[in-house]
Amino acid sequence: MRVDRLDETLIFESQDKELFLSCFQEPRKLPEYIEKEILKLVFDSLKLDINGNDDVTLLIKRLPTPFINKVIFDVESMFSDEMSLYSDGVHESAALYLGRHLSYLMYYLPVNVFKVWKPLVDLQVKDKLKWKMRILDIGTGPGSVAVGIMEYYRMMAEAFPYLNFVLSFVLLDGQREFLTIAKRLINSLTAYMPPNLFVSIEESICRTLDSPEDISVSGEFDLITMSNFLTINEMRNSQNAVAIVSALKDSLKKDGSVIIIENGIKNNCLSFKTIRNDLVNQGVYNVYSPCNGIWQPKKEYSCTCFNMVRCFWEIPLIYKFLRDHGLKKGGRYDVPFNYAILRKDGKTKYRAEGNNRFYVQLKDLREYIDRTVNVKAIIRTVIDRGDKISVSLCDGSMDLGIDDDSSAVWIEPVDKEWLVKKGLNLPIVAAEKITLKKVKVIAHGTFVVIPRLRMQGSTEIEIEY
């Protein structure tokens, strides 16, 4: 890894490959010190004394039972439909999180930490991250995104001790309680960072964004993040989203990126894609990733297909403990989510390919039934069915609606083990580019013929991250 002398981006060298491969290969693990600092914060807020030398398992056992039960109740009800009826304008999020900040910290922070890694890797593989980043995190909550970015940079700082890294955050949230938690957590975690990574909180802004005018932050940012901020859970936000995100453009450096992360729920996906489409079609931003056109640059987006990306992780100790005490959620080792990286410089992660002579576009597949073809596409979504997986593809040549999942192009379910035997070592994740050579086109469906792809022994697969 080296730093470009002109634009200060981190340049990925081929020998760094291994490090980033590991981001895909192994499930992420929340370091114990994060869990420990979360618990210390909880104890502190509850005004309970602790022994600083206790490890996570010991600490967690000391939590008072009524508190544990409250956390479990909060987690299970927080974003349920019933609770969403609390809507009363500006105060809706206040109502939503009222008295629940600690529960959110314990349960939702861990699950959201690593989602941001995916967009960060997307940026990094095309040398779009800098050694020094100024980041605006909107809807910080307890600081999940900041913690995620810190962890990512910690990994780099440890792998490249000869380079220096600097992160400086501006946090924005409507709720002071969350900001207090976030600041304390981030500060306590800086103690665990290597000496060549300097993290600071430049400013924390307690403000509720209700209209574009509310965004007035000083200076420009390399990165603006919004994680679970535009969701329909956050009520009004999704209505203001296009205006708010558009307004952020002025605070973004010309080579900066906006990262939007949302959960993997269907309704939310629809609203998220609609917002994305509006932003792009109004010419405010371009999509850097995912959803790039394979054969032509995509200038207009009208697709609202339902898909999701997954982040693989090890269930943290706090989760295990809560589950032992009756929590039903939190058993997933693959966390579904959605994301988009928007930029204003027209750059995309995958550039449109010039030569499609040997490939068939997905929209034309039905003309190739029973023939063996080559295909290049972005993995739209992956469905895990235990031993088998199904993969759906998109090359930008067809637009799908939220309920059109079955008319999308799917690869027939394949054994995961077969893929491993073929030499594919990394789990297949959505949003990456896949090249399939010698796949068979099969007719599927009764009334309308929907082409599917079938892998054969001679099929060659390549996934580009």
């Binding site: 080296r2 470009d4 002398r5 002109l6 981006t9 340049i11 990925f12 060298e13 081929s14 760094d16 490959k17 980033f20 491969l21 895909f24 593989v125 095309k126 040398d127 410089d345 750059k347 550039r351 893929l419 035997k421 073929k422 030499g423 594919l424 070592n425 990394l426 090249t435 050579k437 022994g457 001679s458 099929t459 060659e460 697969i461 390549e462 996934i463 580009e464 991250y465």
Partner: protein, 611 residues
């Protein structure tokens, strides 16, 4: 718009801070960027400068500057530079690749990399400027990975995917013929042996390892998919190569030639069963059968008619396969892929056939007989064998001419500038098809024989005589020149006295004894020394007889040339009247010398008795 400028040296840039593109350099630029005016009008955002003579120096980025241009000149003035942490060599490499991809460098239309290049797209420019590895993280299945590495000829990389290969049986891919084939193929390439490196430590062991793995893996492939022509052919190829490696002069000797010959024939024949029109299999079988004949010849203890017949039959079969390969190739349509894929085998089949027919003649003997008997005032009678040899020679001539034409796309003729041709001939890829030296040498030799044929027929026997003589001389001289050229480039260090030898014969035939002598005076090899002795004899001077005697006598102990030397000595003794030495020599002839010598001496004896 972005510019990338090629300065020869860094010091020049720092001194001049100015770059002017004009004359033919500007023409190259215009060729690559015909719409340069429009492009430049859009403004220049950034400019990189690299130094083509100083690959390892850092490239520069020009911060500020100005640009002027008209229809025959482009001038850039730089005010400020920053050193980049990318080398000039890297920039150059990336830029060239980019030019090819975008099509503004194009070898076919002779459009080369201009000194100033315009890059339109910022992403492209950044990729070059930052020397970013493209598509860094990839996860591919074994087949895709093998395919990619194969395209880069990275055989080691292909093998490394499955190391330790000794344990390949335990892996899942042991049941996957497609992947195994890729690995086996790569192992075969890794096993290919270069005799020049024979002495390197561990070289032979390393080659053996891959060789054995290759055979194990490809055999498994054929087991899994016994009807797959490519798999069977690949295994046949390995055994075929083994035969060649074990039989080439100064090659490796760590194997059993006989066994390898049988295996090579077995697998290539199987390939033929699966694909009777396989040019490669026909060619390889032909070559191996030819080797088998050699091998058989060496092993013969008692020569008999049966043995001769057996050899004749084997040769006939070998030739049959080579001729079949030629026939099949010539049936392929002009633009079919097979035409390119089998070209090497075609050219080599033609060459092998030419060589076979050329060597089948006994012209070499006739030359000896002709000159020696002449010296001894004997009668030279060759009428009875002339017809046969003439047919063979004509066949050889046809094959070698065709071979030349197919390799160089032009009919051979003495006016060709062969050294120029050779220096154009891609030394790495094309040379592997056939050595141009071998080719010229063989052409020279065939024409020399033809010429000789005319010479013995008597003066002005045919209009061809002059043509044949001219061709023989030209081709042999060309072979020598090309060999020298390659030696000076370090490409080929082979001893080329065999060419001098035949050039000497050419001079003998044209009566130019001085040149003949000059050609082979310092020779070390026995057979060349024998030719030298003939030259000396032809001078018909006593002092030269003595010199020839001194040269020949030690050769009586040389396994390879002892018979020839004996015959020559017999002539000298006769010519110089050394009867005692002569009798001693011919009394020993039966035990020590071969049939050829015995027959020859018998002829001398009978001539003597006639008188």
């Amino acid at each position: 718009m972005y510019l990338i400028v090629n300065f020869l040296e860094q010091s020049k840039l720092l001194a001049a801070k100015r770059f002017v593109l004009q004359r033919e350099y500007f023409d190259t630029f215009k060729q690559a960027f015909p719409n340069y005016k429009q492009l430049l009008q859009k403004g220049i955002y950034q400019c990189i400068i690299y130094f083509s003579r100083e690959k390892y120096k850092a490239a520069y980025c020009a911060q500020r500057g100005s640009l002027y241009y008209n229809t025959d000149k482009l001038e850039i003035i730089f005010n400020d530079f920053k050193e980049l942490d990318v080398t000039s060599g890297d920039i150059h490499k990336r830029l060239r690749r980019h030019g090819y991809v975008k099509g503004w460098i194009n070898r076919k239309d002779k459009i080369y990399l201009p000194l100033v290049c315009i890059i339109e797209d910022e992403d492209d420019f950044e990729e070059i400027r930052k020397n970013m590895p493209s598509g860094v993280i990839r996860d591919s299945d074994f087949l895709a990975r093998l395919r990619k590495l194969e395209k880069q000829n990275d055989w080691k990389g292909m093998c490394d995917l499955f190391e330790p290969l000794e344990k390949i049986r335990e892996k899942d891919i042991w049941n996957d013929p497609d992947v195994l084939y890729g690995v086996g193929f790569a192992c075969s390439k890794m096993a290919d042996f270069e005799r020049e490196r024979l002495k390197e430590k561990g070289y032979l062991e390393n080659k053996r390892r891959y060789r054995e793995l290759c055979i194990e893996i490809l055999k498994r492939c054929c087991e899994l998919d016994s009807h797959n022509y490519s798999h069977v052919l690949a295994l046949g190829y390995r055994h075929y190569k083994n035969v060649l490696e074990l039989t080439q002069p100064k090659g490796r000797r760590d194997g059993n030639v006989k066994k390898e010959i049988e295996l090579a024939l077995e697998w290539n024949n199987r390939a033929l069963e699966l694909n009777p029109d396989s040019i490669k299999a026909h060619y390889r079988i032909g070559r191996i059968m030819d080797k088998r004949v050699d091998n058989y010849r060496y092993s013969v203890k008692q020569w008999s008619k049966e043995v001769f017949d057996a050899i004749e039959e084997m040769e006939f079969n070998a030739v049959g396969h080579l001729e079949k390969a030629v026939e099949l190739y010539e049936k392929i349509g002009e633009h079919e892929k097979a035409k390119k894929d089998n070209h090497r085998e075609y050219v080599r089949s033609l060459y092998s056939l030419a060589k076979y027919y050329c060597e089948k003649t006994q012209m070499n003997d006739w030359l000896y007989q002709y000159y020696l008997l002449n010296l001894l005032n004997g009668q030279f009678q060759i009428k009875q064998i002339m017809e046969q040899d003439k047919r063979n020679l004509n066949a050889a001539k046809e094959y070698i001419d065709k071979c030349f034409e197919s390799l160089f796309n032009t009919k051979p003729n003495p006016d060709i500038d062969f050294t120029h041709l050779a220096s154009q001939y891609d030394e790495n890829s094309e040379l592997k098809k056939l050595s141009i030296i071998d080719m010229l040498y063989r052409m020279g030799l065939i024409y020399l024989y033809l010429y000789f044929m005319e010479v013995i027929r008597g003066k002005n026997s045919s209009i061809n005589m002059e043509e044949y003589g001219n061709k023989a001389g030209t081709y042999l001289r060309a072979a020598k020149r090309v060999a020298n050229l390659y030696r000076s480039k370090g490409v080929n260090r082979r001893n080329t006295y065999y060419i001098n030898n035949w050039l000497a014969w050419y001079y003998i035939l044209t009566g130019n004894l001085k040149s003949a002598e000059h050609e082979i005076k310092g020779a070390k090899d026995g057979y060349v020394k024998c030719t030298y002795a003939i030259v000396l004899l032809l001078f018909k001077q006593d002092s030269k007889y003595t010199l020839a005697e001194q040269i020949l006598e030690p050769l009586l102990n040389d396994d390879k040339s002892r018979s020839r030397a004996a015959v020559l000595l017999a002539c000298i003794y006769r010519l110089s009247g050394q009867e005692q030495k002569y009798s001693r020599l011919i009394s020993g002839i039966a035990q020590k010398h071969n049939m050829w010598a015995r027959r020859f001496i018998a002829k001398i004896e009978s001539e003597r008795n006639k008188r």
